[in-house]
Every structure is written in structure tokens, then in C-alpha cells.
């Protein structure tokens, strides 16, 4: 068996895995969906109005409007990340659900793809609900901001594939606290969501540029402002590139883990 392969899929099989997750989610969505709504509202209220009372203007915008696109990107990240970390780990290692699925016509590649598509779905829910919340706050300045909606799908896909790669390598569920404290939290704080990176020391700026979230934030912000240019295209390219690489990594690592 070769170590690395370009995966082949039957989409209907991945869809069946996706639908399994939808069946589970439908039972609890009323409970699950409210936090998706409240958390970003609290963020906007405290940061936007609290910090915004002292900072009147960032790069020509109100503080609330400044942080809005970055928070949108981070919502897509969080929604996708929760799903491919703890939830996938439990399904893979404790419930042995994937073993059961792989004894059917569904192959391991489609299990991985189905999980990625499902976590993207969760990321979309987080991000799009947040977008709706932004409208009454007056934080959606232009019609082109609507393009941040499809962009948030790509952002969710990027973090779904990154997270699933980690899950395929993760030996125990305790390791996720490292994933969140060493990777996710610093990214959230230092990816230009809350302040422009140009004010940071050069080494922090350097670090931020390797953060996948930084490119996601800049992509969404560029779309919010309608700031077309090569820079925007560059950020889009990073998001797509990281997604493609991590997708191949995740699928191959999951196969290595589940098929002996």
C-alpha cells in the first residue's frame, strides 16, 4: 500500500457521511445554535463599544467596523475547528463509528471528505449567523462585503483540513489543549483582527504572516472594504493553497490511521 495517494471520491458516499452528522445535529441544533449567536454579539458589544469608546478610528473606520471582518473569519475557523477536533476524535477512537462506516461501501477517503464537508457546514453556520448580526450594528459597509460569505466557506474549509490533519496525528484527546492554546488562541490574538499588524514589532508581523488566520482575516477585510488588488488575491491564494495541501495530508493520514 502506497503511503501517499491522490484520493478518489464518490461524492454520494461523502454525502452519506455528511447526512449522518446532520441527523445527529438536528437533535440538538436548537441548543447548539444559540451560543453561535450570543458569543459574537458579546464580542461586538464589549470590544466594539468598550474598546471603541477609546479608539475612535482605525485605518479610517470605527473600531467595531474594523474588527468585524476579522471576527467573521475567526467564527468560520472556530465552527470548523470544534468539529474536526474533539468531535472527530471521539468518533474515531471511542465510538468506533468510522470502523462501522468503512465496513460499508464507503471508503476511508469519503469518511474524511464527509467530515470535512460537515465541519465546513458548521463553520458556515457560525460565520453567516455572525454576518447577519453585523448588519444592525452597521458593520457591513459595502455590497461587496457579501462576498465575504463565500470567502468564509473557504476559511472554514482551510481550518477543517488543518484540524483534521492534527486529529489524524493526535494520540490522545488531551493533546487538543495544545492545539487550542499554542495554535488557535495566539492566531486569534495576533492575526490582525483587533489591531493593525503595522503597529506591531517586526518579528510579530513576521509570525502573523505565517498564521493561516491572518490571510483569512485580510481576505475578509479586503472584501468588506472592496479593496481589490494583488494583495487580496495573494491572501485568497494562501487560503486555497493551505486547504489543498492540508486536505491531501489529512486524507492520507486518516487512511494511515484507520486502515492497517
Amino acid at each position: 500500500m502506497s503511503i501517499f495517494r491522490i484520493p478518489r471520491f464518490e461524492w454520494s458516499m461523502a454525502a452519506a457521511v455528511w447526512l449522518r452528522n446532520l441527523t445527529v445535529y438536528k437533535k440538538t441544533y436548537k441548543l447548539n445554535i444559540l451560543p453561535n449567536f450570543f458569543e459574537p454579539v458579546f464580542f461586538l458589544l464589549s470590544m466594539g463599544f468598550g474598546v471603541g469608546a477609546y479608539i475612535k478610528n482605525v485605518d479610517g473606520q470605527s473600531y467595531l467596523a474594523y474588527i468585524a471582518p476579522g471576527l467573521l473569519a475567526s467564527q468560520a475557523m472556530m465552527g470548523a475547528t470544534y468539529e474536526v477536533t474533539y468531535n472527530c476524535f471521539v468518533k474515531m477512537n471511542f465510538g468506533r463509528i468510522y470502523d462501522a462506516i468503512m465496513a460499508t461501501p464507503v471508503n476511508v477517503e469519503e469518511v474524511a471528505l464527509g467530515e470535512i464537508l460537515w465541519s465546513v457546514t458548521r463553520g458556515i453556520l457560525y460565520a453567516w449567523i455572525f454576518f447577519v448580526v453585523l448588519v444592525p450594528f452597521g458593520a457591513v459597509p459595502t455590497a461587496t462585503a457579501l462576498l465575504a460569505l463565500p470567502a468564509s466557506v473557504l476559511v472554514a474549509a482551510m481550518f477543517a483540513t488543518i484540524g483534521l490533519t492534527f486529529t489524524a496525528l493526535c494520540p490522545s484527546i488531551e493533546m487538543y489543549s495544545y492545539y487550542f492554546t499554542i495554535f488557535v488562541s495566539p492566531m486569534f490574538l495576533f492575526s490582525g483582527i483587533f489591531f493593525p499588524l503595522s503597529k506591531m514589532p517586526p518579528w510579530v508581523q513576521g509570525l502573523a504572516r505565517v498564521s493561516p488566520l491572518y490571510h483569512a482575516v485580510e481576505l475578509c477585510r479586503g472584501l468588506f472594504l472592496g479593496a481589490w488588488g494583488w494583495a487580496l488575491l495573494g491572501h485568497l491564494g494562501v487560503v486555497l493553497g493551505v486547504t489543498a495541501v492540508c486536505f491531501l495530508l489529512a486524507v492520507n493520514l486518516i487512511r494511515r490511521k484507520l486502515v492497517h
Binding site: 454520494s12 452519506a16 449522518r20 441527523t23 437533535k27 470502523d99 465496513a103 464507503v106 486502515v259
Partner: protein, 307 residues
């Protein structure tokens, strides 16, 4: 390869790093029969099942299932296969009926047809009253029946059952056996592993006995017992230190010495017992019983199945 053969293994080997779980076994499973792999834990039965449904790869040799090679044609095989694994891997986040409906989708069956099949299977396995309950509230026997029902949702040509009744109480076992025999009558091909000799005797048309990764014998349960053991078994216990004398008294009879008793294989138990009593050899108790597959295993390996 004819259509009569459901599974053909030729010198199949499974190695995990240094450990050889299956050491070059060859076997044929015919269409429409119930075929058993009997052997103690660790004999290589589960590894063989996992190779058949592709959960693990074949290290060496060739394995064809329903006329297709497991290495190159696994998806087509899996479309026509139902698998009841040894470990309960039911989906605990969804209800009993949803376990079947969700599983049907993996076989490309959706909507009303999936629900119809699910209801039909729940009735057949006497689970319809538990239809909307959570899986974790089911008893061990019900979980096993649901696992079996789930394996049938794709209308498989071949059903793999790995230790189908392990851990069940007698009533639950009998109910499951009844259902499996019914499936068998309806023409399903069943392949099962077990370390219970009574299960193998009740269900299997033919079986192989496995030990330490190898097939040590094969045949129908009745033929195996008759050829390897004989009709009857005398279980004789003697006072401490009296075994040698008893064995001398038994003379040329086929015997097996265990720490706590001597087993004597014979076609005429009454006559042998009469002879032992007449010889004056020490005897604490004697029990005459029918020979079983357990005795076949003991004859061939010197160990009991449960050891």
C-alpha cells in the same frame, strides 16, 4: 472461479509488524451455506474476517470474495457484504431506527425505501418497540440484534458475523441463533467466527477449526466429531494420584488427560465404563456424554477452546 464459491482464500497470510496473526490459510466458502471459523481467542479468526471485509489488508496470498479480489475490488465487494463486528460500534448519538436508516444511506438507499427496510428489520429482530429509543438504553442482546439488523440493511449476498453471541445470556443467544437460522433458510450465505462449540454445532453447515493462525481441520460438525473423536465421551475423575492406574485400566482406548479428569473417547461408552469398574481401578465419578466439537479441538491441540 465458479459462482458456487462465495469466498476463496489461498495461502492467506496476515502479519502485523513482527506478529503473524494468520499463517497461510486456504479455505472455500460456498454460496448459501453457513460456514464457521471455530477456535480459541487469538486463533486469527477476527483477522481473517477483517481481511474479508477490507478493514485490514492481506499481507500475502490471495483472497477473493464474491468473485472479486479484496485488494483491488473492495468497494464492489462491500456493496454486497453485511458485517456484524465483534465490538459493538453502533452509533450512540442517534436512535435505534436511525441507526438503520443512516446505515442504509451508506449503501445508497435513502428515503421511503430506507425507512421501509428499517421497519421490516426491526420487526424481524423484535426491536420494533425500541424503535425510537437511544441505543445506549438497549440490553446486550438487543444491541447484538440491532448490529445484525444493521448488517442486513443493504440486502447483502454474504453476511460476516464475528463472534455474534459473545457475552450474551442463554435466552438472548437462542433468539439470535433462531434469527440466523431463519436467514440461512432464506438463502443467505453466512460466515461466522466463534469460540463456542455449541454455536458452531448448531449453526454451521461446515467449519474450519483454527489455532495459532492455522487451520487445523475442516469438515461438517458431525463428520469432524465422528472422525476425530467418536460417538461418546466418558469423563472420569479419580482420587488424587490415581490417574495412572485408571489410564492403565483403560488400555488401548483413546484418552485425553486433563489436570482434573481423564476423558475417554469411545463408540461404546457403557461397555468401556463397565470394563473400568470391573478392573478395580480407582474411580471417583463417571459421566457419559455425547462427543462435541470441543473434544475435536482438545484431541487436535491438547487444549480446551476456552484456554
Amino acid at each position: 472461479m465458479t459462482d458456487e464459491i462465495a469466498i476463496r482464500g489461498t495461502n492467506v497470510v496476515k502479519r502485523y509488524k513482527e506478529f503473524t496473526a494468520v499463517a497461510a490459510i486456504s479455505f472455500d466458502v460456498r454460496r448459501g451455506e453457513c460456514f464457521g471459523f471455530l477456535g480459541p481467542n487469538g486463533a486469527g479468526k477476527t483477522s481473517t474476517m477483517k481481511m474479508i471485509y477490507g478493514a485490514v489488508g492481506v499481507t500475502e496470498g490471495s483472497l477473493t470474495v464474491l468473485g472479486r479480489d479484496v485488494g483491488s475490488d473492495l468497494r464492489e465487494i462491500k456493496r454486497r457484504l453485511g458485517v456484524v463486528p465483534q465490538e459493538d460500534n453502533l452509533d450512540t448519538e442517534i436512535s435505534v431506527v436511525e441507526n438503520l436508516v443512516v446505515f442504509a444511506r451508506y449503501f445508497g438507499i435513502a428515503g421511503a425505501e430506507a425507512r421501509r427496510r428499517a421497519d421490516e428489520l426491526l420487526r424481524f429482530f423484535q426491536l420494533d418497540e425500541k424503535r425510537d429509543q437511544k441505543v445506549e438504553w438497549l440490553s446486550g442482546g438487543m444491541k447484538r440484534r440491532l448490529l445484525t439488523a444493521r448488517a442486513l440493511v443493504g440486502r447483502p449476498d454474504l453476511v460476516i458475523l464475528d463472534e455474534p453471541t459473545v457475552g450474551l445470556d442463554p435466552a438472548a443467544r437462542h433468539l439470535l441463533w433462531e434469527k440466523l437460522r431463519q436467514l440461512r433458510r432464506e438463502g443467505a450465505t453466512l460466515v461466522l467466527t466463534t469460540h463456542y462449540m455449541d454455536e458452531a454445532e448448531r449453526l454451521c453447515d461446515r467449519l474450519v477449526v483454527m489455532d495459532k493462525g492455522k487451520i487445523i481441520t475442516e469438515g461438517t460438525p458431525a463428520d469432524l466429531v465422528r472422525d476425530k473423536v467418536g460417538k461418546e465421551v466418558l469423563e472420569l475423575t479419580v482420587p488424587e494420584g490415581g490417574q495412572d492406574e485408571l489410564v492403565r485400566a483403560l488400555g488401548a482406548e483413546q484418552i485425553e488427560r486433563l489436570p482434573d479428569m481423564v476423558l475417554c473417547y469411545t463408540d461404546d461408552g457403557e461397555g468401556t465404563l463397565h470394563r473400568v469398574r470391573a478392573s478395580g481401578a480407582p474411580l471417583e465419578s463417571a459421566r457419559l456424554r455425547r462427543a462435541t466439537l470441543e473434544d475435536v479441538f482438545l484431541r487436535l491441540t491438547g487444549r480446551r477452546l476456552g484456554d
